[in-house]
């Protein structure tokens, strides 16, 4: 038999002036199962709490209802009091007599009656409460960081500096990401590599960081605190432990004309290569798809050249499995190629390039050693046109969103051009200038005021080639929509920043959600910007949305601090408001029919499949099982389950129906 105690609080005058608290307590006392009912002036005060504790001990209460303020205010207080008196804290409920009753209604019988109803509902509920224990999950204190761009580098260093182990996995032969390709960076125009490369070296040397380059995530299992990652280390064809990075092999390589990814196609590289001189690790890989030996079975010039005999043509991919407690996803972005733009020539004009290619032209480490020369004939362009929003804000053909950073880098490009080509003229065709950020507007104004970049407000309709010039046909909507035609030597498209082509695949591997544009979704756009909806997985950088370096780094540090915060404890502990699938003695096992509607309902991937096997190991049934460390307790699955096999602890069907039946 339940033995419920009811405690009605006056909150001074707050409740007492409107509700007849004594009458409520009396009425509660008459409810079946209630063995104790009192009212008191301030329940949350020490004497008030003692009242409850004593009653629990003396009356051997099996449940407590406090009729007072909002549970959002004092539920923890009273649950703690119960626990101190030896009653499971989850056997305590609160009826909201203040915010939902005395403060919002007139004094009188009706209001008192409502208070009685509210108490009765909770009494019926609490009779059906079960003792629950907070969920505890052990934590593996090692983080996996996916992607070695500035986001991944920053996150890895922050976590490692907090004293935790980090495994950094980068797909390319070197870390660095897009930032390594940039020339100078807005709004300060500091040299990108100068600020990045020291960080890259730090990563390589940090005792807490294990670096896997030329590697990819194969699979991820488990849940917060207890993931197991399998990583594929692609065959470099070079034994890293022997290689000294001398570069002799590269000098001798038979294949020399492969478009360099690092130079965005503007330079050439060899088949055995390091992507750029400051690469980390500075050890080559063989691009097997392009290597003569792998194509024809002959060559091995590199092997002959190598003084340390490090070349390994027979090396195979290697799978490594590691346990980690948290994952930071920092896989970055991609840009649309010029071939995407039909009206700008389907990528057929060599002197129509992307912003990223311009970065390489402007970079001292680039194919032109920082001189602005156009790809077709290596001439210095005297008239250059920058086209903003190329592919962005173009629902018809491109993407609907604003890529956010291109207004700024276009201003930067125009500025760098003006600094390098003194007799040149830069034009920018734009729709809006989006320069929100510290010193950003000032930066754009400088381009206009000091460097005399001519900004034309209008979108370019078409580009075609004539007599070695690129005819750019636009319009100035500020000048009564007058046509503006520029005969340009070089055209730079601020092409859209898009998600990585394999973002969807990766998201599915990680079981995290992504938006319609394949950018990964944070858990909440304002309040949980670095967490993802799968507990224990965090996000940083441009894989979440287009962003510039300052924002990327801020988010990376945010993600790292979340990880470090998590790792500062040995166990995770959470409220046990989670779903459970019922289990019954065989032969029923469970009423779950295995329809897995709940699985589709759950936004957190908390539903797992459990196989029930007979003694002989034969499969009897597959039923749903909730991973309680992942479940957030939203109850969506419960509402969907047609066989009522899954229930939400703390808000079970029985409890909720009991509340209703009390009315």
């Amino acid at each position: 038999m339940p033995r419920i105690g009811v405690f009605i609080c006056h909150c001074g005058e707050n409740i007492g002036a409107t509700v007849d608290c004594a009458a409520v307590a009396q009425a509660a006392g008459r409810l079946p199962g209630v063995v104790h009912a009192v009212d008191y002036k301030y329940m949350c005060s020490d004497p008030g709490q003692s009242l409850i504790k004593e009653a629990i001990r003396e009356k051997r209460l099996t449940g407590v209802v406090v009729g007072a303020c909002s549970p959002r205010m004092h539920e923890p207080t009273f649950r703690r009091a119960c626990a101190e008196a030896g009653l499971n804290p989850f056997l305590c409920e609160m009826a909201n007599l203040r915010e939902h009753c005395s403060w919002v209604h007139e004094k009188g019988e009706v209001t008192t009656q409502k208070a009685i109803d509210l108490v009765r509902m909770l009494v019926e509920k609490v009779k059906r409460n079960r003792p629950l224990t907070p969920i505890r999950v052990p934590i593996t204190k090692r983080a996996l960081v996916l992607g070695g761009g500035i986001a991944g580098i920053q996150a890895a260093l922050d976590i490692a500096n907090a004293g935790h182990k980090v495994v950094l996995v980068e797909r390319d032969p070197s870390i660095g990401g897009h930032m390594a390709q940039l020339s100078e960076t807005f709004p300060t125009l500091d040299c990108s590599q100068c600020i990045l490369t020291p960080r890259m070296v730090e990563v390589a040397q940090h005792p807490n960081i294990t670096l896997y380059t030329y590697s990819e995530l194969e699979s991820l299992d488990g849940f917060i605190g207890n993931f197991r990652a399998t990583i594929r280390k692609k065959a470099r064809s070079v034994d890293e432990s022997l290689c000294t990075g001398c570069g002799a092999c590269i000098q001798k390589c038979a294949q020399k004309k492969i478009p360099s990814e690092f130079n965005a196609g503007l330079g050439r590289r060899t088949a055995i290569y390091v992507p750029f001189p400051q690469a980390v690790p500075n050890k080559p890989v063989i691009d097997r798809a392009r290597c003569t030996y792998y194509k024809s079975g002959r060559c091995k010039l590199c092997e002959k050249a190598c003084p340390t005999k490090a070349i390994r043509f027979d090396q195979e991919d290697e799978l490594v499995t590691i346990d980690v407690g948290a994952v930071v996803v920092a896989t970055g972005y991609d840009v649309k190629p010029t071939s995407f733009f039909p009206e700008y020539g389907y990528g057929e004009y060599k002197d129509v390039i992307t912003g990223l290619q311009f970065e390489r032209l402007a970079s001292a480490s680039g194919p032109t050693l920082g001189e602005i020369r156009r790809p077709s004939d290596n001439e210095v362009p005297k008239k250059i046109v920058f086209i903003a929003c190329a592919g962005s804000r173009d629902p018809a053909k491109g993407i609907h969103y604003c890529s956010k950073i291109c207004c700024m880098y276009t201003a930067k490009h125009a500025m760098l051009y003006s600094h390098k080509v003194h007799d040149g003229q830069a034009y920018v065709f734009y729709m809006d200038i989006r320069a929100g950020g510290k010193m950003y507007e000032e930066f754009v104004r400088r381009a206009v005021e000091e460097d005399h970049v001519r900004y034309v407000r209008g979108r370019v309709s078409r580009i075609y080639q004539k007599d070695g010039k690129l005819i750019v046909k636009g319009v100035d909507t500020l000048l009564n929509s007058r046509p503006v035609e520029v005969e340009a030597d070089l055209v730079v498209l601020a092409t859209a920043m898009t998600a990585q082509p394999d973002a969807e695949e990766l998201a599915q591997k990680l079981k995290v959600s992504y938006d319609g544009d394949k950018f990964l979704n944070e858990a909440h756009p304002k309040l949980r910007p670095v967490e993802m909806n799968t507990a224990g997985i965090f996000v940083a950088g441009a894989c979440q949305a287009p962003k510039d370096i300052p924002e990327t780094v801020a988010q990376a540090s945010g993600a790292a601090s979340k990880v470090a915060g998590m790792f500062s404890r040995d166990e995770l502990s959470r409220e046990p408001v989670v779903a459970v699938v019922n289990r019954q003695p065989p032969p029923v096992w469970s009423t779950c029919v295995g329809c897995f509607l709940c699985e589709t309902a759950c936004a957190y991937q908390a539903i797992e499949r459990e196989e029930i096997r007979g003694r002989d190991g034969s499969l009897i049934r597959t039923i749903a099982k909730v991973n309680e460390s992942v479940c957030q307790g939203c109850g969506t699955c419960v509402a969907l389950c047609r066989s009522k096999s899954i229930d939400l602890q703390g808000y079970t069907n029985e409890q909720v129906y009991a509340e209703l039946l009390a009315l």
Binding site: R393, A396, G458, R459, S461, R462
Partner: protein
Amino acid sequence: MSAPVKHADGTAGLAEAVAAATGESVFNCYQCGKCTAGCPLAEEMDLAPNQVLRLLQLGQPGMDEEVLGSLSIWLCLTCEQCSTRCPQEVDIPKITDWLRQESQRRGVANKKAKAILAFHKSFLDTIRRGGRLHEVGLITTFKLRTWRLFQDVLVAPKLLARGKLSILPHRIEGHAGVKRIFERCEAEPANPAHKGDQA
């Protein structure tokens, strides 16, 4: 479809009527100007294509009338260059088609568009009569309508000499049916979906 836009005096704006009749919202246009930049006739227009849309978007007193009385709507060749490249997929020719018909209905067509209108009307006249275009008939009617007696006189003999002009019109068997099609199409108001009438 877009929200209705009212004029200050409470009458329905042209933008709303356009949306009702064509399903095209002028509010989708974000004034990038790409349409105008590619339009072959923009230089000859009194209002650039994007400006037509802008006037409709603002719908201030007199703006709708300015659009309906413009020469631009008659110059448009329906070449679809603008709509093909428009990032917001605004179907300008479709809107223009409707504006022309509305302009005629209200009798406010631009005076300079007279020749164009005359040509189109003459064109339809010959079809109304025979079911097919009769080029000699077309040119003659057009001349009569515009008094442009001498222009094209130079071309006609060339055509005749090369056996390209048939003097006698061809009449299809179903010409009566075609005539009925004309009658039905012209009987109902040309722009049935237009609701907002102005004083």
